[in-house]
């Protein structure tokens, strides 16, 4: 359970950066891209891209495989799935709670107006 929590923290920490999110979005479109292909659309240098890949790799969000001099990057979807599931659970909880909160506050507002406050 502690591991699950630490894993989620790593996933969310990795996802907080827009460049890393863009890398994942690219891998979602075409999986199995070489590092140099991956780096092309970004305005940052290859070593900076490599650093982002390290973070994504540590979070388990990608895997890298080396063939000769070419490194191919693939998406590893399980941590992302866990993160999405975390968000969905809270969305169910809060979406319904906030609807009820709104209804309650509106009742209170109507009462306050009736009593002239």
């Amino acid at each position: 359970m502690v591991n699950y929590s630490a894993q989620l923290d790593r996933t969310f920490a990795a996802l907080v950066d827009p460049t890393r999110r863009a890398i994942l979005a690219r891998l979602e479109r075409d999986d199995g891209v070489t590092v140099s292909e991956l780096a092309k659309p970004f305005a940052i240098k290859l070593p900076a891209v490599m650093k982002h890949l390290d973070v994504l790799d540590d979070a388990g969000l990608i895997t890298r495989s080396k063939m000769g001099r070419t490194v191919t990057v693939r998406l590893s979807p399980e941590p992302m799935r866990a993160a999405m599931e975390w968000l969905r659970r809270y969305e169910r909880f809060w979406s319904r709670s906030l609807d009820r909160l709104a209804a309650y506050a509106e009742r209170k507002e109507a009462e306050a107006r009736k009593s002239g406050r």
Binding site: M1, V2, Y4, S5, A6, L8, D9, F12, A13, L15, V16, R21, A83, W86, L87, R89, Y90, E91, R92, F93, W94, S95, R96, S97, L98, D99, R100, L101, A102, A103, Y104, A105, E106, K108, E109, A112
Partner: protein, 142 residues
């Protein structure tokens, strides 16, 4: 992508919404995903104060969450740490609620995120402040 954000437009003034969010009388009326009862609601609405809420769902399961108020600005903003009792979601997360007065009453913006990436964002935004906060948390923990 890393946090949940929900927006509600509510036909009630911000102070009424804020009290609904923070008073036990308010909380028992809306907290929870279905019409099951709130069994316990305790709040100490000041920075460093804590809340604890326990509810039963219609399927009979009981759930309890607690946390600490991190920001309290009535009637505009509320931030609190969040933790479930038991193992259903170990670890701590962060709830932030902003209330903005609007023509029809209040626009409520709700965000639930993992504390870790919030820390990251804050330390970027606030530089030293973020680092100092972390230090303080570190020392209060040990």
């Amino acid at each position: 992508m890393t946090s949940l954000t929900l927006v509600r437009r509510i036909a009630a003034r911000p102070s009424i919404v804020f009290d609904a969010l923070t008073t036990p009388e308010g909380i028992v009326c809306w907290w929870g995903p279905d019409a099951g009862p709130v069994l316990l609601a305790e709040t100490d609405v000041r920075i460093g104060g804590r809340f604890r809420v326990r509810f039963r769902m219609l399927d009979g399961s009981e759930h309890e969450s607690s946390g600490e108020y991190l920001e309290v600005v009535r009637p505009e903003r509320l931030a609190m740490s969040w933790r479930w009792l038991g193992g259903e979601d170990p670890g701590e997360s962060l709830v932030e609620i902003d209330l903005r007065a609007s023509a029809e009453g209040t626009e409520l913006t709700f965000t639930h995120s993992r504390l870790r990436d919030e820390d990251t964002r804050r330390s970027h935004e606030e530089g030293w402040n973020g680092a100092l906060d972390k230090l303080q948390r570190h020392f209060s923990r040990n």
